[in-house]
Structure formats: structure tokens, C-alpha cells
Symmetry: C2
Subunit: 225 residues, 2 copies
Amino acid sequence: MYQHEGILITVDCIVFGYEDDLLKILLFKRWIEPSKDQLSLLGGWVNKNESVDDASRRVLQTITGLENIYMEMVDVFSEVHRDPGGRVISIAYYALMPITEENKKVVESHSAEWYPVHEMPELIFDHNQMLEQALSKLRSNATTSLIGKQLLPKRFTLLQLRKLYNAIFQVEFDPGNFRKKVLSLKVLEQLDIKDTSESKKGAYFYRFKEDGSNDNNNQIFKVDY
Amino acid sequence: MYQHEGILITVDCIVFGYEDDLLKILLFKRWIEPSKDQLSLLGGWVNKNESVDDASRRVLQTITGLENIYMEMVDVFSEVHRDPGGRVISIAYYALMPITEENKKVVESHSAEWYPVHEMPELIFDHNQMLEQALSKLRSNATTSLIGKQLLPKRFTLLQLRKLYNAIFQVEFDPGNFRKKVLSLKVLEQLDIKDTSESKKGAYFYRFKEDGSNDNNNQIFKVDY
DNA sequence: GCAAAAGTGTTCATAATACACCCATGT
DNA sequence: ACATGGGTGTATTATGAACACTTTTGC
């Protein structure tokens, strides 16, 4: 056996969701050794007949029941002793998905649960570090493109979008300036319907434009985090 | 044998250097099958007793003779059939190093050569794609932090630094504005020596401050590329 | 004196920030 | 009538882009 044989590959997914004005992630109680009953990220093996992206997509779909989940690679974790069970390299992904009644049921049936990111418990192995880096990458992405399409309902108000950004960065964006900045990007379109649940006056619903590419090599938000 | 066993891991390094006002990368003529005699990036196996970072460092050191080479992960390449020789996942890194007379000899003794990035030949497998992404990442990094420490001599003039940036982005930066922006970052210190090789008046040498962390979550250069 | 790079200054346009302030309406 | 979020306007400041202009010195 050569030196370079016998390494196993996994994916671990930091799944972000948004609920009750909080940014949350999906955690599992491990049901196999090692570290049974401790909390971990969603993960799985990379098989020989699939790319790492495909493996991540497969794992996500199995647990959430959703196809076409938005995901992005975060980093590779490869310290020799990171997994006490063997020589395992893990590719970390972050994923974004809405938290709905339906997928909550699917998720719970796999004994997974949503936890707020700001009060994160201890996770196994290097999973806390994975989460840190995923959050950092999410924030970085949220400054150069307008995120929310995958975390909010199809129709949403600017208040909802702003609260999402507040939750992501743990700061309070100025309502007026946030509105102007977001609308100046021209990636949202206003609908004719108003949401009266949050205010008496009612706020227009918006949605992401269908075509809209929403990338930018400049920054749209300047936030210290 | 399980589905998830038998995958091999390599690193591939996109090594950037700077010479004759050109951004160059290090390429190899392959001396083993498959694809003998074709050009490829510097690469090697990841062994069971080392992290991926360590493997990349080892491979870089072997070929260039240098320790402590600056490097950064670019992406993971894992399409099932990317390598006709087997199921191989590759982690791509970019690295920065000065091109000096000494290391040119070491490099040539391994039948490697420096090629300008703007006239890149066809490379094996997905190596052209790796290069594209590495260049893109290098550019992105060069907008949020001042690079050059690893590509230029210890002492350099602002002209040299500007020409490096011109080479990286393939644009002409305005001399006056470039100077003001760079100096406002306060990561360089002026030396008392002047370089008279490029002008009659002579330009002060600068060097990167020792302590200077040079990171920034904002942008320092706005460039369309 | 002139060319060529070094270095400084000025102007204009744009964008971020911190607000003030009016609007609409359910209670 | 008033509190609450919705939405607009404005003054101030900071930043970037273009470019004029002055300095130095080898030829």
C-alpha cells in the first residue's frame, strides 16, 4: 500500500436557515460512534462515482427533502488527526435554505434540529471551526451580492430583508439607507401587494428578479465584523 | 470495498512569479504517462501522514528549493473523470514566489519553466481551469490587501509595485493615484536609499513593514476585470 | 534645454452616513 | 391622537478618477 492510499473523503454541510429574526444552522445528534450523542454538522462520504459537489447535494437532499439547494464550498479540512476514527479529509460546504413547516418535519424525522448561530453549542471534531469559517464566508458573500433569495420566502418586505442582514452581521442597519442601497442594485422588483402584518401603513412586497444576475466584484455593504 | 474507498488525493500548485514586468507561472513538461510531454502544473500526492497544506508545501519546496512559500487554497477539483488515470481529487493552491537567479536554476533542474500568464499554452486535464480560478483569486486578493511582498525583492520602488499591479490586472494604474492609495494603507515604509536605475531623479525604495498585518475586509482597489 | 520618471496638488463626481421629517392607519 | 413602521429628502463627509503641474538630473 502506498503512502498516498487509504485516505477517505467526506463532505460536511453548514446549513443556514432563517427563522424568528434569527440565523440558524442545522445540527445532528450523532447516533454512531465515535462521539455518539454529541452534536455535529450534516455530513457524509464522498463516493467514488460522484464529484464532491454531487456528494454534498446528495447529502443535503437526503436530509432536507429539497433539490437545488444553494451551496458553496467553504474550505478543506485535512489535519491528520482531525477525525479520531481514521484518516478523513472533509470538504466543508455552506448551504442556504428556507425553514418551512414542511421541511421542518423532514428535518426532524432525521433527528436534526435548527440552532441559532449566536448561541452555538460545542460540536464534534473541528466542526465549530467549520462553522466559523462558513459564517465568515457567508458574511463576505453578503457584502458583495444581495443574499436572501434562498433564505426568505418568495415574497418579502424590505423590513424582512433588513432583519435578515441584521441577523447575519449582528448589527442594526439604518432603515432608510438600507432601503436606498438595496433598491439601487436593481435586483429586486416591487409587487403590487402589501404586507400589513408588520405595520399599519403596509409595506410593499418585493421579490428577486428572475433573470437577475446579482454578482459584483465591488462591495455593496461596508460592515465591520 | 466500499463505494467511498479508493479515491486518491493530489495537490496542484499554480506558482506565480514576476519577471520583466510580466506575471508568470511555473509549468512542467510531464515525463510520465498519461499525457507524457504535455504541459502541466506542479503537483503531487497527498500522503496519509500529512495535511493537504503540508503536502502542498512539500511539493513546492521540492521543486523550488524554498521554504515558507506563500500559498493559498483555490478550489477543489473533483469531477469523476477529470484524470483519465483514475479517480483523483485535486486540491488546487496558488503560490507566490520571487523569480531569482538561484531558484531559476533549481527550477530548471526539474525541467520546469516560467511562462507569462497572458499567453498560456494548453495544459493537461483541467489545469487551464485551475489557472483561471487561481488568477481570479489572486486578483481578488490583490484588491483587498496589498500584495507584492512575496513577488518583489525586499526593497522595491512604487514604480515596480505599480508595474506588478498593472501586470496582474492587465490595466494601467494612474501613477499619482496609485501612489496615494498605496501609501495611505500605511503598510509600507520608506527607506533612505534611492533607486536611480529607472529615472534620473531617483525613486525611494520601500519595503513592507515587519509587523504589518495587511488585511482588510473592504476593498482598496476598484478594478474591472 | 529636454525627456522621463518622481512626486504633489486640484477639481469634480460619486457614494456612504447620519439624520430629520412626512405618510398612512389600526388601535 | 398617537405610536409604529414605511418611505423620502438632505446636509456632511469621505473617496475615487482625471489630470495639471512642479521637481530632479543625466544626456
